[in-house]
């Protein structure tokens, strides 16, 4: 049984289906990117997992149990919500103390997680003086408090500067390397592409793709081939005779739906000298846009 299982999940807000029959798993020891454009239903899905939103139908469970059925939920699941908020008049240390007492975690754990996220020196300052990045770090500290087996992070890089994003990537990788299941949502693929193993792509509340990052977004069978030939006109005619579509890009031909091997073979048959031949790998962003239907 996977640490996180979402099965046929639906959530209706009035007439609007925020989540529509969504199913996916998150495996232990892997970082799973939960991707989709704004309004795709990512936050609603995560909130349904965490028991904050009541599903209209279907289930979202941790090892088969709903969040509110877990023995010590804060010790099993750590979560960072998109709008991580804190009482502005309370210090980071006091905020974590409250959570530690509620979750039954040892008091010493507060200092441990403050050190992990690099907030040790600012622990006694009131949160209202914190930058957005510091608030995100505090939210992550709260999620790590119970040393959970599952981490759920909703847009955790929001508000982080480039060093912060890099720190976050390393943190995610480290958590997964320690055997935790990490589910991280983002509407910005580039921010998570370097740190995720698997991806779940949704749009309009529906699953669009699920699998490893390469499998889902690399999608080799729709690649094109870039070729530069001594006689591009002859090669174009030969390719077109064989049913391939050609686009001109300067002095280069872009052959759609043909592998470099196939293009090379045709050029050899037609005795056209090839000056350059390479696959055109579709960018992750382009693949993401194609899956989600978002404008590229």
């Amino acid at each position: 049984m996977a640490p996180v299982e979402v099965r046929d999940l639906c959530k209706q807000f009035g007439d609007h289906a925020a989540i529509d029959n969504l199913s996916f798993d998150v495996e232990a020891g892997r970082v799973t990117g939960f991707l989709g454009p704004n309004g795709a239903g990512k936050s609603t899905t995560l909130r349904a997992l965490l028991g904050l939103v009541r599903p209209s139908s279907g289930s979202a469970t941790f090892g088969g149990l709903r969040y509110d059925e877990l023995e010590q939920p804060a010790a099993r699941v750590g979560a960072v919500l998109e709008d991580a908020s804190f009482h502005p008049g309370r210090s980071a240390r006091n905020h974590l103390r409250v959570l530690a007492v509620t979750g039954g975690h040892p008091a010493g754990r507060v200092d441990d997680v403050l050190a992990i996220v690099g907030l040790g020196d600012a622990a006694d300052r009131r949160v209202k003086g914190y930058s957005l990045g510091m608030r995100q770090r505090l939210a992550i500290a709260a999620a790590l408090l119970g040393d959970p087996e599952v981490l759920i992070l909703d847009e955790p890089t929001n508000g982080l500067d480039p060093p912060g994003i890099s720190w976050m990537r390393e943190l995610l990788r480290r958590q997964a390397a320690d055997g935790r299941a990490v589910l991280v949502s983002s509407h910005f693929l580039a921010e998570v592409a370097q740190s995720v193993d698997d991806v779940v792509v949704i749009a309009d509340g529906r699953l669009r793709a699920q699998g490893t990052l390469d499998m889902v977004l690399g999608d080799g069978d729709v690649c094109a081939t870039e070729v530069r030939a001594q006689d591009p006109g002859r090669l174009t005619a030969a390719l077109q005779r064989r049913g391939h579509s050609i686009q001109r890009d300067g002095d280069m031909l872009v052959v759609l739906d043909a592998t470099p091997e196939r293009v090379g073979q045709i050029a050899r048959e037609e005795h056209v000298a090839v000056l350059g031949l390479a696959p055109r790998v579709r960018s992750l962003e382009a693949a993401f846009f194609a899956l989600t239907g978002a404008p590229a």
């Binding site: 028991g51 509110d68 877990l70 908020s85 009482h87 509620t102």
Partner: protein, 245 residues
């Protein structure tokens, strides 16, 4: 439940609102007692009624409502529910915490005003109250404070909007219930913020005396408990099924 209660008490202690409102309750109560005990003729000073004028009963429901609505205002309700997914238990812990806070604040305020009033009246050669009467006033003040603290949590959870909750409590306490006391006193005796609490306090003179005369303390306590319980039940039902988006 002990952990949740402990956590709620830490939340309560670690914000300035608690200190500010406790300070206001203490200062306003002391001012009222000192002025009344000093400026009234000594025969007019009714110490029992004066010591029942523990103004923490005004501030405690406000404190509770501000704290609970603050969970929505500062958007911390989701993290609170994540830490304690049983929402009804969480609400029960908040209710207990603010009832307990009411007792502690009222104890401090009542003890202070009793000390100040007794010193002033005895200094002016007047008659002071015996320990049994003081103890009687004290437990009534504490009971009212506890019930109003619990009521404030329910009101805050139901309304969620801080301004609406605070304004609503002030309007009910300072406008609607006094107006009802004038127009239909038999209804006003059952009011949640002034009517029933005045019955518990068993005030027999002054402007509130007319209110309390109708409900015996035991009945008034039952009415106040019913208000707090009904508000809790409604708040719990709403909180359980509310999506925290």
């Amino acid at each position: 439940m002990t952990r949740l209660l402990h956590a709620e008490l830490i939340k309560l202690r670690t914000t300035r609102t608690f200190v500010a409102l406790t300070g206001c309750a203490l200062a306003a109560s002391l001012l009222l007692v000192i002025l009344t005990a000093s400026l009234s003729t000594i025969d007019e000073v009714d110490l029992r009624t004066l010591f029942a004028s523990d103004l923490s009963s005004v501030f405690i429901p406000l404190l509770a409502a501000i704290a609970v609505t603050g969970e929505w205002r500062h958007r911390t309700i989701a993290s609170s529910v994540l830490a304690a997914p049983d929402r009804v238990r969480m609400l029960a812990a908040k209710t207990l915490a603010y009832a307990l806070a009411g007792v502690v604040i009222s104890l401090a305020v009542t003890a202070s005003i009793m000390l100040a009033g007794t010193l002033i009246v005895s200094g002016r050669g007047g008659t002071t109250l015996g320990l049994s009467v003081l103890a009687d006033v004290l437990w009534r003040n504490l009971a009212v404070a506890a019930l109003l603290g619990a009521l404030g949590v329910g009101v805050g959870t139901l309304l969620r909007n801080q301004i609406v909750a605070v304004t609503g409590l002030l309007i009910v306490g300072f406008a609607i219930e006094p107006m009802l006391a004038t127009l239909v006193p038999e209804v006003a005796h059952f009011g949640p913020l002034v009517g029933a609490p005045s019955g518990i306090l068993d005030i027999t003179s002054g402007s509130a005396g007319a209110l309390s005369a109708a409900l015996a303390p035991a009945l008034a306590a039952t009415v106040s408990i019913a208000w707090a319980s009904a508000t809790f039940a409604a708040a719990a039902a709403l909180l359980r099924r509310r999506d925290l988006v």
